[in-house]
Amino acid sequence: MSTKPRVGLFVTCLVDLVRPQVGFAAVKLLEQAGCDVEVPAVQTCCGQPAWNAGADGHATDIARQVIAAFEGFDHVVVPSGSCGGMIKRHYTEAFEKDAAWLPRARALAAKTHELMSFLVKVRSVSGVTAQFAKTVCIHDSCSSLREMGVKAEPRTLLGSVDGLTIDELKDQQTCCGFGGLFSVKYPEISERMADDKIADACATKATVLTGGDLGCLLHLKGRMARQGKTLEVRHAAEILADMGGEPALGEP
Amino acid sequence: MSGGRDEILSSIRARQLVRTPKPEIYSAPKSEGDLAESFAKKLSVQFADVRLLDSMADVPAAIADVLRGKNMAQRVHIAPDSALALDLPGIEVSREPPGQNEAAVTEVPFAIAETGTLAYPAGKGRPASWHFRPVLEIAVLRASDVLPELEDVLKRLGGVLPSTLNLVSGPSRTGDIEQTMELGAHGPKSLAVLVVKS
């Protein structure tokens, strides 16, 4: 009988569609940290796009699906502060008045974690075995910072990567302008916010921009591609799982 | 005009769901050390000229010095019925309200150490507008009248407020143009505070 913790990996829709490597990186890191990882097949989305748009009916339908699929695990781990935040902070809001689902939402919230903070705080991982001889700057997503309380952990883990140097952004608190559907509804404002963040990144000594949220990274890389800027963009999980040799985001 | 009053109050009452309880009284971090020194330090940082004097006998010379330092004539305005009984040889004293380019000498009933603030309850001999009219206010304060917090000033007033209680923590200023601070927007451009130890 295994005494390893059973972890349900919530892959996220963006990782599933655009960058599966992040999912495989997460599995590798979790297994290295002594977990049994499962990936429930019924997962699709956490429901955040619907929730943020005020489409509460859709959001709660999707949330029930997630709760039912994941509540049996010891831990639920998400390679994203944004989706993690939806499950951990907003499911209880969504079911505030639902006597049947509120306790289940609370229970799931209590055991849902962003990937890097799970490794450091729950599995006591202090370092990884990986090589990445480049200078990186770190983009802390708003949800990681403010909903999941993740700040030191990416630095602890990335700092342990062989050859990696961190050169921090000057402004680590201002939103990059993704914001889900905001990026589509108010493109010019989103563009300005991206440009400010990109200028900050390009002003560091880093040749790589990394972070824990794929949505932000897709938005920033997409904007850089339009501008002709060549900063390499990778999800932090990939670097930590020693997959830094693969093509970066948006590279052929 | 009872229509508006009744409707507004009904509107509020009809919608109240929860009445939260009266919270515990908040206790602010206390400043250490001598109150008058704490006060002087806080106010000096806010572009005021704060001087610690040994006794009331030193006040006239200090007033003369402040005026000289501002290239102003040896002339001040002191409110009629002011409790300040100062002998100011060589200094002309007017009892008229000060103009926008003149100096006033005022008595300070209380001061607050936490924020470096002068507390002026308006009253006989203490016209409130005199803290705003002149270009220079010279405030005379006894060190023993410096209290720790605003709450202490309110306690001293016994829960009865004057028509106006002015709390002054520096000369007048504005950052309204390009977020750059300039002194002397409407109120005094300079504030000098003479803190008398005994």
Binding site: L17, A50, H58, E188 | Y26, F132, L150, T164, R173
Partner: protein, 469 residues
């Protein structure tokens, strides 16, 4: 000049290309943003202070009827008068009557966002009364016939050259060859010009940062001292303020006074804090002979008992505005309303109607910085989301977004269909991508207007994971 929240997208686009606005917004961040951070660091347990402020304001909002009644009793006991205005029109009419009864022709004004909200100045002018703004920033925008662009720094968007230009155009009695290159010269000129207004005004109108129920006092904070000259020199003083400003007593005010200036500009205390408890005493030589308070509802009471109730805790410090990246990109005028930034986004849909102010609630990434800095812990993004839900439920959201979400949700609730759809999408995007990105699609045009989309790696994670098992 945008005066309509419905116009926000176009106004925002124009603001983004305004060359003078960008450095001005940068200055706001450096001064107010850094100022607050430094003040918070120096304070010690700032979190405990925020909790205390929240509790005081929660008590006040949930006892608003009792406190307003008590406030009125206290004011009347000291010889003042309280007026109750259900809406903007009633407020304007009440104020006009007081001024007309007092025979007032010129009125000086301390800073009051509520008087902006009720559009008081044009109404007074139409009735033959001249209102003169005395807060330097408000005075400048009044001369320029612009609305304020920030709730505490109304003219932050202007350069000193623009202010000089305005003074040359408006202060026609002065020597046209004088120098107004220095900021100090501008301030000194305004001081001299406005001193005449202060001294000749028949009445003074101020706002109130707080109302203290027990003592019947209105409290204002300024750095200039203009509010005091507005109150103290004329015969009549009128306070115009929102009903939600009331708190229990001066002890509560003392706590909030620790929060407000630090959150606004980073100061431990504003230069002038004035506790105004009625008309002049019998033995006093200055101060108003008549004291009036106009309490304005204008949509506030109907937020009580709703998901937006917490917005009534607001003490109008502007911290949310100063830290908002959207405001930081487009400034205040783009919002087309008295209250802008996150507090505007949380308040306006409630008081102006969701159909009118939907953009305010939608133009947010929910980054949460506003809620993080709010001194009274208003969950601003949560309230904005509530307005989006109201908008969605009323069928007012843009059709393309609602339709797109509908399709997405349909698939998301059907895992088999979703996995198939995602696989097709991944394959499709990969096949149309060039050099690692997709440049355009007939959908999501907002994305592709300014960005490429990085091409998917290949098969979806789920497809690959199933294949491995």
């Amino acid at each position: 000049m945008n005066l309509d929240p419905k116009n926000f997208p176009q106004a925002a686009r124009e603001a983004l290309t305004d060359p003078l606005l960008r450095p001005a917004l940068g200055r706001l961040k450096t001064h107010f943003g850094a100022g607050r951070a430094a003040a918070v660091a120096r304070y010690g347990d700032f979190e405990a202070l925020r909790e205390a402020g929240k509790a005081i304001r929660d008590y006040a909002v949930t006892h608003m009827d009792e406190l307003l009644t008590q406030f009125e009793e206290s004011v009347v006991a000291r010889g003042g008068t309280v007026h109750w205005a259900r809406d903007a029109a009633e407020a304007r009419a009440l104020i006009l009557k007081v001024l007309q009864d007092a025979g007032a022709k010129t009125v000086t004004k301390g800073k009051s966002m509520v008087t902006e909200e009720i559009a008081l100045n044009p109404f007074l002018e139409a009735n033959g009364i001249v209102p003169v703004e005395t807060d330097l920033g408000e005075y400048i925008v009044q001369l320029r016939k612009e609305p304020p662009s920030h709730i505490i720094a109304p003219a932050f968007h202007l350069s000193k050259e623009q202010v000089a230009e305005t003074f040359f155009a408006s202060h026609t009695g002065l020597d046209p060859k004088r120098s107004l290159v220095e900021r100090n010269a501008l301030v000194q000129e305004a001081r001299a010009v406005l001193r005449r207004s202060f001294e000749s005004a028949d009445a003074g109108i101020t706002g109130a940062n707080f109302l203290s129920a027990k003592e019947g006092a209105a409290i204002i904070v300024t750095n200039e001292g203009n509010g005091d000259l507005t109150r103290l020199l004329p015969r009549t003083h009128i306070v115009v303020t929102g009903i939600e400003k009331v708190v229990a007593d001066m002890t509560d005010v003392s706590v909030l006074l620790r929060l407000l200036p630090r959150s606004a500009t980073g100061q431990p205390i504003s230069t002038y804090v004035s506790v105004m408890a009625g008309k002049r005493g019998a033995d006093e030589s200055d101060g108003p002979a008549a004291f009036h308070v106009v309490l304005v509802d204008n949509g506030r009471s109907k937020l009580i008992g709703t998901e937006a109730q917490d917005v009534l805790r607001c003490i109008r410090c502007s911290a949310c505005i100063n830290h908002c990246p959207i405001y930081g990109a487009v400034g205040g005028h783009a919002y087309g309303a008295t209250y802008m930034g996150p507090i505007g986004a949380a308040l306006n849909p409630g008081v102006m109607g969701v159909e009118n102010a939907a953009h305010h609630a939608n133009a947010s990434t929910f980054c949460g910085r506003c809620a993080e800095v709010c001194p009274v812990k208003i969950p601003l993004p949560k309230i904005m989301r509530h307005w989006r839900a109201v908008e969605h439920a009323k069928g007012l959201a843009p059709k393309s977004i609602t339709a797109g979400l509908g399709v997405w949700a349909f698939a998301a609730k059907r895992p088999g269909l979703y996995r198939f759809g995602a696989s097709v999408m991944a394959w499709f995007l990969r096949s149309i991508g060039r050099r690692g990105t997709v440049h355009a699609l007939p959908v999501m045009q907002g994305w592709f207007a300014v960005r490429d989309f990085p091409v998917p790696q290949g098969k979806t994670f789920q497809a690959q994971w199933r294949a491995r098992k």
